[in-house]
Structure formats: C-alpha cells, structure tokens
Symmetry: C2
Subunit: 186 residues, 2 copies
Amino acid sequence: MKYPNNIQKKIQNPISYKNRGMDLEEELNLSNEYYLEIDKALIYKKPTPIGITTVSYSKQGKIIERAYFKEPSTLDYNGLYRGKYIEYEAKVTKNKTSFPLHNIHPHQITHIRKVLKHKGIVFLIIKINNLVYLLKGDDFIKYIDTHQRKSLPYDFIKTTGYLIKFGFNPPLDYLKLVDQIFFKEE
Amino acid sequence: MKYPNNIQKKIQNPISYKNRGMDLEEELNLSNEYYLEIDKALIYKKPTPIGITTVSYSKQGKIIERAYFKEPSTLDYNGLYRGKYIEYEAKVTKNKTSFPLHNIHPHQITHIRKVLKHKGIVFLIIKINNLVYLLKGDDFIKYIDTHQRKSLPYDFIKTTGYLIKFGFNPPLDYLKLVDQIFFKEE
C-alpha cells in the first residue's frame, strides 16, 4: 500500500446505510423507492458515469479492474411523474450562510437551461442548515443570470425555495411540493 | 495473468470507434449527440450501473480499483423530447429469424409496463438482419402477453415495428419515426 498517492479504501458494504444517520441521497433514494412501490412515479438516480480502462473475466462474469469517475453533464435523478419528464440534482452544503455554486458543474447549468426550454420539470434539492429545500430550475437560472456571485445566499434559498418536510415514509415527500409547484394550473 | 478465470483485457481506447464499422450503440449515441447539438431533444445513454468494491485516491482523483456490473432495471436511454418523457432499449441480435427475449431482463419488462402506465414514450430499437426497427412498447407487451414464446419472430418485428432508415447525420433518425408514431394526434 502506497501513501499518500494510493490509499486503498475498502467499501465494506456499498448498499446498506441502515445503521447510520441517513444522508440526503439515501433519503431521496428511499423516497423514490417508496414512490415506485406505491406506483406514484418512476424516478431513479442515474449511475455515476465512469470510464472503464481495464476489465477481466472470471467465473462470476466481467469484473472492472480499473475505472475513473467522469464529470456528470446531466443531473443526478430523472424520471417520469404524472406523464411529465422530471429531473433534479441533490446537494448538501455545510456552509450556513450560502450554497457554493461550484457544487453545480457548468455543464449541468447548461443542461438545466435545456430542460427548461424543452418543457421538462427541473429543480435542485439543497440541504443547508439541516433543512432541505426545493429550488425551481427557472428560479435558479434567473438568480445566476442576474447576480455576479459564486454562491446562493441562504436567504435567497429560504425565500425562493420550498421547504421539504421530513417524514417517516417517504423520508422526503418532495412530490407533494412538485404537485403544488408544477401542476397547480391543472 | 491467470487463465482462464482471470483474463485481463485492456480497452485501448474506450471512447472512439471512428475507425471501425459503427455498432448500434455508437449509431444511437451519435444520433443523440446530433439531436443535442441542434437542440431537438435531450436523450442520453444511462451509464451502466456498477457496484464499486474498492477505490483508491491518487493525485488525479478517486480511482475505482474494483467494481462489478449490475443488472439494469430500467432501459438504456432516456430523456426529454417535445415536452415528453422518452425511454428505450437498444439491442442487436445475430439471429436471422427471431429476437431472443432473454435480451430483455424481466425487470426491464416490468419497467416498460410502468412507463406505459405513467404515459411516457417507450420502445425498443432492435437491429436484426442488419436492419434497425423501432418496436413500440405497447406492441411489445401485447405480444409477450399473448404468446408463450421465448423470442419475437422476425416477421412480427417486420410487420409491427417501424424500419429506421440509415443516414449520414444523424446515422439513425429515429425521432422522425417518433414524431409519426407518438405525436400523430397533435
């Protein structure tokens, strides 16, 4: 084992996080599983894009021996709800006063603009100060187009975003807000 | 290097296939890049789902040292077109008389039913006898629900599917057919 350039880290159990405090991704994954079970929506987290450089073949099948993470050009979650295309990105910040914009890649900002143009439902889910907010894609774009800032102030998120309440199941019932925000005219 | 259980295979150039005959995936990826460029649709191939077991950290960032392929539960491609959710799977068969159904996982068949129920556009793109057909999700489901077969006969694909013509750019202009098939009432 080499140090510091090649620290190996074994992920003991890549799936179950049941025994520790849930993070935002886990809360959303469980919420999406719940929506899937009750047949309310089909929303999945996209696998992280990777570039594979080496594979090997064993009795158990094809094994990836070496790969690297690629930068995402779309958002983390997408799917189908009430006949509409829905896509969002979920991010946590430990900052208390603002959400740093380097959390969202430039490609992803371009993508949000395109989803808006093609009439999809698109938003950010931001966890800040242990509260989870839904920020509409068009509100987000409007803000960055009119402000020369490198972060979204917490005040802006609080006043423009929508607070998602925590629950038992689903942990984050964000589709209740999607109904109110994106389907209000129907 | 161990043989036969651990044959290592280096993928020299995981991205460019420019110098060899294009396969279906490449044709669809190029078509989707074209649609993206002309701002006609936002359709992406989902990264193959993998389970990561070992990562290491280097100067270049996080490197995956070991991972395995997971079985997909959704279809390969999804996105947004003309305000609608669109999803499809692309498969090639070397069989000349039929398309073996083991190419589509049971989870994927369940998923196709759900997309139909939630009013998304869903279909298969099947390359057989060097021709590429679009088969509507509901035609596919109707067939497997009424036939006790392990494959789709080529005759069924020819008569029920829609032939996608090859072109220069995009190589496979399947959205032209999507317009005719799924938007005809508008």
